[in-house]
Each structure stands twice: as structure tokens, then as C-alpha cells.
Amino acid sequence: MFCCGVYGFITRKNMIAILISLELMLNAVDINFALFNRYLYPGHMEGMFFTLFAIAIAAAETALAIAIIINIFRVTRNVDVQGLDKMKL
């Protein structure tokens, strides 16, 4: 799943699609934590709580990222990430 996210990030042009890919990646991490916790260290709940907080963080990230994307959409009327190369080299 993480890898899917990676793939999506790199291939998609639409910034929102990229964001979706990022969500996938974060989710993959969450699942990892939960699984490791459950399978390897069932004694405590650290992984689970990490996941919990990670979800919160992911939410915050997404919110902010979407705000920024909308913001740039207002400026360029476009969400194509490949158009964002005014600054380079």
C-alpha cells in the first residue's frame, strides 16, 4: 500500500490525487504499527496509540495541504503539479 502511495505520488499530475496517494502511505504506516503491535508486542498498546496520533496528524496535514492546494488553485486555476516548476535549477 505504501508503495502504491509512492507510485501515485510520482505519477499523478493532479495535486489532490497526490494527496490521496499520501494518505495511502500514511495509512500504510498506521496499519504497520497496528499490526506490529498486535503480532509482536501484544503486551502493550504503544503501536496502537501511535496509530491513533498518526491519524490525527494525518488529518491535520491533509487539511492544511488541501487549504494550500485550493489557495494555489485560486491563483493558477489549475491543480496540475507539473506546472509548478517556475523555480528550478
Binding site: 505504501f2 502511495g5 505520488f9 495535486m15 497526490i18 494527496l19 499520501l22 502511505m25 500514511l26 500504510a28 504506516v29 504497520n32 504499527f33 506490529f36 503491535n37 509482536l40 508486542y41 504503544e46 503501536g47 496509540f49 501511535f50 496520533f53 498518526a54 496528524i57 491535520a60 496535514e61 492544511l64 495541504a65 487549504a67 494550500i68 492546494i69 489557495n71 494555489i72 491563483v75 493558477t76 503539479v81 509548478l84 517556475k86 523555480m87 528550478k88 535549477l89
Partner: protein
């Protein structure tokens, strides 16, 4: 539950109080009082800094709170204070910008966000648990994305924000992925516990975990090849934000990185991460320099310069000893002063004329001698020319690194030294532009704002005296001595 534990976090609490005061000021005072906000914020930060130094000198004991999730010690207090100083300078320098037309609506938010990121950095530094660390990391980077986008009228600002947030989230995903592996290996997220758990573990998984952790931190430190966002973001962001990003954020990350590497992965220094870092340092310094050579935009130029500076800072990490740590902290302090001086000048000129290209600086000395002298001092300090502070910091960090004493480290330092020549080249290009080149349309003489001048004076004082006045470095060495146990 013991809520008194919060009291251990003196600086964080102080910072939150400042944050609250700023918030309240911004929310409840009428619009026209808003002009005072930057000054108030600066003053509050100053108070916090001074208070922090008092704590420092009165002797703050090693404290851990929340069952070892949070720790503070003189070293941490010191590094936080160093960051505070930088923040104060940034705030002072940005007063004019913050009071500008553009910022009327968002002045308060700027300060609030800035303080939150600083809070995040505090957490990063003091965290002894990866969850807290992640939260600190995110607090330190996410609001910055918003700050990067503050310059609403400039397209670059938006583009920079997008690039920043996307890579930031990506890198935090990678980082967390690495953490999940670490967790899988050790079953804990406490630094100490992990540290013990991985002794003797030499698995592929650990390698990839460490690589991901380094990558995640490398993003904040802008180590090559995790640095690619840096230039674009520095260029696009408002100058005040760029300066904040380049020094404070990097400084905090560097220290946090040191703590992680030493405390968590200290056991596998020799086997795994010293070599990873070795390669990264070489790449960072070299590629940063190579890119910096060609830059025409001053902010972009400084971005690449700060990338290669990060490489030098990492020498303090790879040294893996107290001398390296002290040298690194010292380096950060000096770097804060030098880089902020440079950004201060750039900001002053940008505010006055809106020009940021290196060609615009041609013949600057003729019209604005003081600014160009400050810029020159900054460049010399960054290049490591005595008697300015940069020389001392570079010398000490090399000394710290060479304490390792292996042939490999001599080679590494040799490469770093050769790179200082390249870096000297491009720093001198700026000096050349200002002092030697002649231009038809020179930036006209202008008088920079009081606040900007004040900020520059502070940085100049730093550049000149930080090196020559030895007690500063001696003190840093002294306070880092107790953490010797961190290192193998």
C-alpha cells in the same frame, strides 16, 4: 496522574504563554493596535530568551518527565536558548515586513504559527519518545507550510508552499515507516528502550529503518539527496520565513538528529549509520556547493549554501563525541548569526527595492556601504574566514570530527576542507559583486528601518564576538560534558 510534571517543561510552558499572549493580543485588541504586535512579540520572545538564560546559568538539573517521555538538561536548555536568540533576531528583522501592507490581515497568524513551530522544535529536542518526537516534528514543519504561503501576491510563494507541504508529508510518511520498523524491532518507542533493544541487532531491517529515519530528518536538515525542496521553498517563501526556515528549523533538527542518532542508534554507529552519514555528508557538502556556484537569486543561493552548511553541521554528528556536540551547537549559533545577517541584508534590500538577484548587488558598496559590509562579514563568516566566528566554528567542528581519528574521517574532513574552497568561491562572488563590480543601475542609497538595523547589529556583534570571546564555546563544551555517556 501527576500534572505537576508539566512544570518541568519550563521553557515550553513559557513559550506557550507567549503564544497565548500573542494570540489574545491579536484577537482582542482593535485593528489599529495591530501595528504594535511585532514589537510586542519580539519583546516577549526576548523576555523568554533572557529568562531561559537565567535558567541556564542558575543551573537547570537534568529532568525527565512523563515517565521519560520528556527530558531536559542544560544542553537542551542551551540549544533552546540558542534557537530563541535566533528567533528574536528573526522577529526583530521581520518587524518591518510584518507591518507592511501585505501582512495587515495575517500579522497575528504569522507570529502564532511561528511560535507553534518553535514549540514543535522544543518538543523535538526534548522528546525521548518517538510519538512526542513525531508530533514535535509535525508541529515544526506543518505550520511552516502555511507561513511559506504567506506572500499572497507572489506566485512563487504558493508554489513553494505546495512543494513544501507535499514533500514534508511524504518525508514524514517515510520517517514513520522507518519508525514502524524500529518499533517492530524493539517493541518500544522510548529512545532508551530502543537503544538497548537494538544492541547487537545487525539486520537489514534495521538498516532500512535507520535509512528512513535519516531520510526523514534529512528532509528537515536538507541533506542531499533529501534537499531538493530547499531551494524552491527558500526562494519562494517570504524572506523572514526563509531565514527562519534556514537557521532555526535546521538548528533544531540538527540537534534532534544528534540525539536520535546517539541515543537511539548509538549502538550501531560504527556498523551502520556512520557510513550512511559519511556518504551523506560528502554528497551534501559537495552538491550543495556545486549548485550554489551558479545561483543568481540571492535567496536561492543562500539555500544551497545552507545545504552545504548542513553538511558541515553533520560533521558534529558523525564525530559522535561531546566535542562534536559542543562544536555543533556552537556552529549552529554562529550559523544563526551569519545566515541571519545575510538574510537580514537581503530582506532589507528586498523590502526597500524588491531586488534579490546577485547582479542587483553590483556596486552596492558605493551606495550602501554599511549593508554591504554586513553582508561581507556574513559571507566571510559563512566561508570560515578568521577572525570572524565562522572560522572558529568550522575549526572546532573539524577538530571534533577528527577526534574520531580514523583514516576515513581524515579523508572526510579533507573533502569538507576542499569544499570550503568551493564555498569560498561563491561567497566571494557576492563580495565581488558588492565591492568590485560596477553597474549602471546600482541599488540606490536607502535607509533601512530601525528594526532591521537593530537586527543586523546584533548579528554583526555575533559574527565578530562569538569567535573571539572564548567563554561561549568553553561554556558549551562544559555543558555537553555530562552527555558523554550518550556516545559509544
Amino acid at each position: 496522574m501527576d500534572y505537576s510534571q508539566f512544570l518541568a517543561m519550563k521553557q515550553e510552558i513559557g513559550l506557550l504563554i507567549v503564544f497565548l499572549l500573542v494570540f489574545l493580543y491579536d484577537t482582542f485588541l482593535p485593528q489599529r493596535a495591530g501595528k504594535g504586535l511585532p514589537i510586542v512579540a519580539s519583546l516577549l520572545m526576548l523576555v523568554l530568551t533572557v529568562a531561559g538564560f537565567f535558567t541556564c546559568f542558575l543551573g537547570s538539573p537534568d529532568v525527565t518527565a512523563f515517565a521519560g517521555m520528556y527530558a531536559t538538561s542544560p544542553v537542551m536548555t542551551a540549544i533552546k536558548n540558542i534557537l530563541n536568540i535566533g528567533v528574536v533576531i528573526v522577529l526583530i528583522q521581520s518587524i518591518k515586513w510584518a507591518n507592511g501592507e501585505l501582512m495587515i490581515m495575517r500579522r497575528g497568524e504569522f507570529y502564532e504559527l511561528l511560535l507553534v513551530t518553535l514549540f514543535g522544535m522544543y518538543l523535538m529536542i526534548s522528546a525521548r519518545h518517538f510519538l512526542l518526537f513525531i508530533i514535535g516534528l509535525e508541529s515544526a514543519s506543518l505550520p511552516l507550510a502555511a507561513m511559506v504561503a504567506f506572500d499572497k501576491n507572489r506566485y512563487e510563494s504558493h508554489e513553494a508552499a505546495v512543494k513544501y507541504i507535499l514533500t514534508a508529508v511524504f518525508s514524514s510518511a517515510v520517517f514513520m515507516m522507518g519508525l514502524s520498523f524500529v518499533y517492530a524491532l524493539s517493541g518500544s518507542l522510548y529512545f532508551n528502550t530502543i537503544g538497548y533493544a537494538i544492541i547487537g541487532q545487525h539486520s537489514t531491517m534495521l538498516c532500512i529503518a535507520i535509512a528512513f529515519v535519516i531520510a526523514g530528518m534529512g528532509f528537515k536538515l536538507s541533506l542531499v539527496p533529501f534537499h531538493l525542496w530547499t531551494a524552491d521553498v527558500y526562494q519562494g517563501a517570504p524572506t523572514s520565513v526563509t531565514s527562519y526556515l534556514s537557521v532555526i528549523s535546521k538548528g533544531a533538527a540538527a540537534f534532534a538528529f544528534l540525539v536520535i542518532m546517539a541515543q537511539v542508534f548509538g549502538a550501531v554507529y560504527e556498523h551502520i549509520w556512520s557510513w550512511m552519514l559519511y556518504v551523506l555528508i560528502i554528497l551534501t557538502i559537495t552538491i550543495g556547493n556545486l549548485f550554489a556556484i551558479r545561483q543568481k537569486n540571492m535567496k536561492r543561493f543562500l539555500a544551497f549554501s545552507s545545504i552545504s552548511q548542513a553538511g558541515y553541521i553533520m560533521l558534529g554528528v558523525i564525530a559522535d563525541n561531546t566535542m562534536g556536540t559542543a562544536a555543533m551547537m556552537y556552529y549552529i549559533l554562529v550559523y544563526i548569526c551569519s545566515n541571519l545577517a545575510a538574510f537580514g541584508v537581503i530582506g532589507a534590500i528586498e523590502n526597500a527595492t524588491g531586488r534579490v538577484s546577485m547582479e542587483d548587488y553590483n556596486g552596492l558598496y558605493k551606495t550602501n556601504p554599511r549593508l554591504s559590509v554586513v553582508m561581507m562579514l556574513a559571507m566571510f563568516s559563512l566561508a570560515g574566514i578568521p577572525p570572524f566566528a565562522g572560522f572558529f566554528s568550522k575549526f572546532f567542528i573539524f577538530t571534533g570530527a577528527l577526534a574520531v581519528g580514523t583514516v576515513a574521517i581524515y579523508f572526510l574532513v579533507g573533502i569538507a576542507l576542499i569544499n570550503t574552497i568551493v564555498s569560498l568561491y561563491y561567497y566571494l562572488l557576492v563580495v565581488k559583486a558588492m565591492f568590485i563590480s560596477n553597474e549602471e543601475c546600482v541599488i540606490p542609497t536607502f535607509r533601512s528601518a530601525c528594526s532591521e538595523r537593530l537586527g543586523l547589529w546584533i548579528t554583526v556583534a555575533g559574527i565578530v564576538f562569538l569567535g573571539l570571546v572564548s567563554p561561549i564555546y568553553n561554556w558549551l563544551l562544559e555543558i555537553t560534558a555530562p552527555i558523554a555517556s550518550l556516545f559509544v
